[in-house]
């Protein structure tokens, strides 16, 4: 008890509140690490336009532009819906066709290095390029992106990034071309000179950097949980949580051991874990095992020719775990901010509700591939209600 008292003195809390303090000094220091006030948008040395307002403005226009698709109907915003936390309510994304994985919300991603459920991109701008050329998402090609930018955004692009190549020369720059597209797009790409391919890749990279600049303006907002923690530390008006919410928070930090992966102000460790979830829509999806290989080979990664990073500034990529067996079917640990508003859950929307998620963590079944990292845990009916009540304090408002 005495150590608790001194802990509170050290934290400046004694005398700050009239109600008895329900948390130990150690718990308080943990709560503070979960507070949104501890969150900072990291620099992105690979994107020199990351915080450029004109780039963000251009990126916003591109983000909502449905012409960036094979059928003229799919924009980034089609799946990343602004009024739905920049995700959708589907188990797997729906663009030109049906994808294999759940659409991820954008705001938490702006604070993280690894993108996609498998971390196959190491920056927001590299991420933005992937869906454009995915046949079931935008079904577009980078060559078409360059043409569209020249036609509709030419002066804004050139004011930021410098002159566009002479895209009107259709012998050098065909209508559709990409190294990862369908047969027609690939053969058109292969017929281009390496120098012209690099020019188009440069436009494509800049396109991604503008979208990333826009995405970085989409801040996470404080939740009731943040207001509660702020109140504990005298950073705002005191806010009370209900008994269920308080008990749920205690379970989250204690018995549930949720903090082991869902820690820090994003309530994620930014890593990858195999939690033994069922196969789901993407079937035998190896997750991070394939993702790390793709990230290392990506010409648009932090160490690549189109990155603005200097040597030594790509630590996450340079020190990425390359071993694939240990990362088999590991998927990104998602942020829990807004989680209760974001059903369905897991990388392929395997679980329709938080109740089903808790069922899974209680059972901790064997993984369909690789090795699950989780241990079974048992919650009674009241504890389940309390945990879910706590997760609702993370709702976006």
């Amino acid at each position: 008890m005495r150590s608790l008292f001194y802990g509170l003195v050290a934290l400046g809390l004694v005398g700050a509140a009239s109600a008895p303090m329900p948390w130990s000094a150690e718990e308080l220091s943990v709560l503070r690490t979960l507070w949104i006030g501890a969150l900072e948008t990291p620099a992105d040395p690979s994107n020199r336009y990351a915080d450029n307002p004109q780039a963000a403005e251009l990126g916003r226009a591109l983000f909502f532009d449905q012409r960036l698709s094979a059928n003229g109907k799919v924009a980034c915003a089609s799946c990343h819906e602004p009024d739905h936390s920049f995700t959708d309510a589907r188990p797997v994304g729906q663009g030109i066709g049906q994808g294999g994985r759940r659409t991820m919300p954008i705001q938490p991603a702006t604070y993280e290095t690894w993108q996609f459920w498998d971390g196959r991109a190491d920056s927001l701008w590299a991420q933005a390029l992937g869906p454009i050329e995915n046949p079931v998402e935008h079904g577009f090609t980078r060559m078409q992106v360059a043409h569209l930018i020249q036609t509709h955004y030419g002066s804004r692009y050139e004011a930021l990034f410098g002159p566009l190549p002479d895209l009107a020369d259709t012998r050098r720059f065909p209508e559709r071309a990409s190294p990862v597209g369908d047969t027609g797009a690939r053969s058109a790409w292969a017929a281009m000179s390496e120098a012209d391919q690099a020019l188009v890749n440069r436009v494509f990279a800049n396109f991604g950097k503008a979208i990333a600049a826009y995405e970085r303006t989409l801040d996470l907002k404080p939740t009731r949980f943040d207001d509660y923690v702020a109140g504990l530390f005298g950073e705002g008006q005191p806010v009370e949580l209900t008994t269920d919410e308080m008990e749920g928070l205690q379970l989250f930090m204690g018995k549930g051991q949720c903090l082991q992966c869902h820690n820090g102000p994003l309530l994620t460790n930014g890593g990858f874990a195999n939690t033994g979830v069922p196969l789901g829509g993407a079937g035998e999806d190896t997750g991070r095992a394939a993702g790390v290989r793709a990230a290392l080979a990506d010409p648009f990664n932090c160490d690549g020719a189109f990155s603005d990073a200097k040597a030594g500034e790509c630590e996450e990529l340079d020190y990425a775990v390359r071993d694939e067996l240990t990362q088999m079917r590991a998927f990104k640990v998602p942020s829990l901010r807004g989680v209760a508003q974001r059903a369905p859950y897991m990388h392929a929307g395997q679980f329709a509700s938080l109740e089903e998620v808790l069922d899974h963590y209680e059972r901790a079944p064997l993984a369909p591939m690789g090795r699950s990292e989780i241990h079974p845990v048992s919650f009674n009916r009241i504890e389940r209600r309390q945990l879910i009540a706590f997760l609702h304090t993370l709702d976006e408002r």
Binding site: T33, L259, Q260, C261, N263, G264, N269, G270, G271, A273, E315, E316, D318, Y319, A320, V321, R322, D323, L325, T326, M328, A364, L366, A367, M369, G370, R371, S372, E373, I374, H375, P376
Partner: protein, 152 residues
Amino acid sequence: MWHEQIDGAETGSWKRLRTIAAAAFGLTLAGAAAAATQVRDPALTRTSEQGQFRVQISSDASPIPMRRIHSWTIRLADDGGHSVERATIKVDGGMPEHHHGLPTQPEVAATETPGVYKINGVRFSMTGWWVFNLDIATPDGRADTVTFNVTL
């Protein structure tokens, strides 16, 4: 305590974690209540398993950061206390209780100071018991291993 699965694939680092855990289990069976504690000895200055080296490690950032890449310093001496230069040091490790290795693949580089090396690229993703294994080899043929426990 071990939530085993039947599928199989194991890496060297995982095998080592299992070996450590098996050793811990064996010692506990031997009846020494202190054995588990001993296995999780937090000392950051240790003698390597075969007694070849004295090794000290320390985080260059204090407090040890979470979710952020940072470096550690290794001070390497022989059994007589003399600095050991030009050693090749490999790092692996992980969390024995959670079936996973390190979240990054740190690399060791020599510094200009004899016997001082840097572990670059360390990142911790959660609190709890972490293990670092250092495989040390010198050009004159000495080789040994040392294990550190870091509880965050």
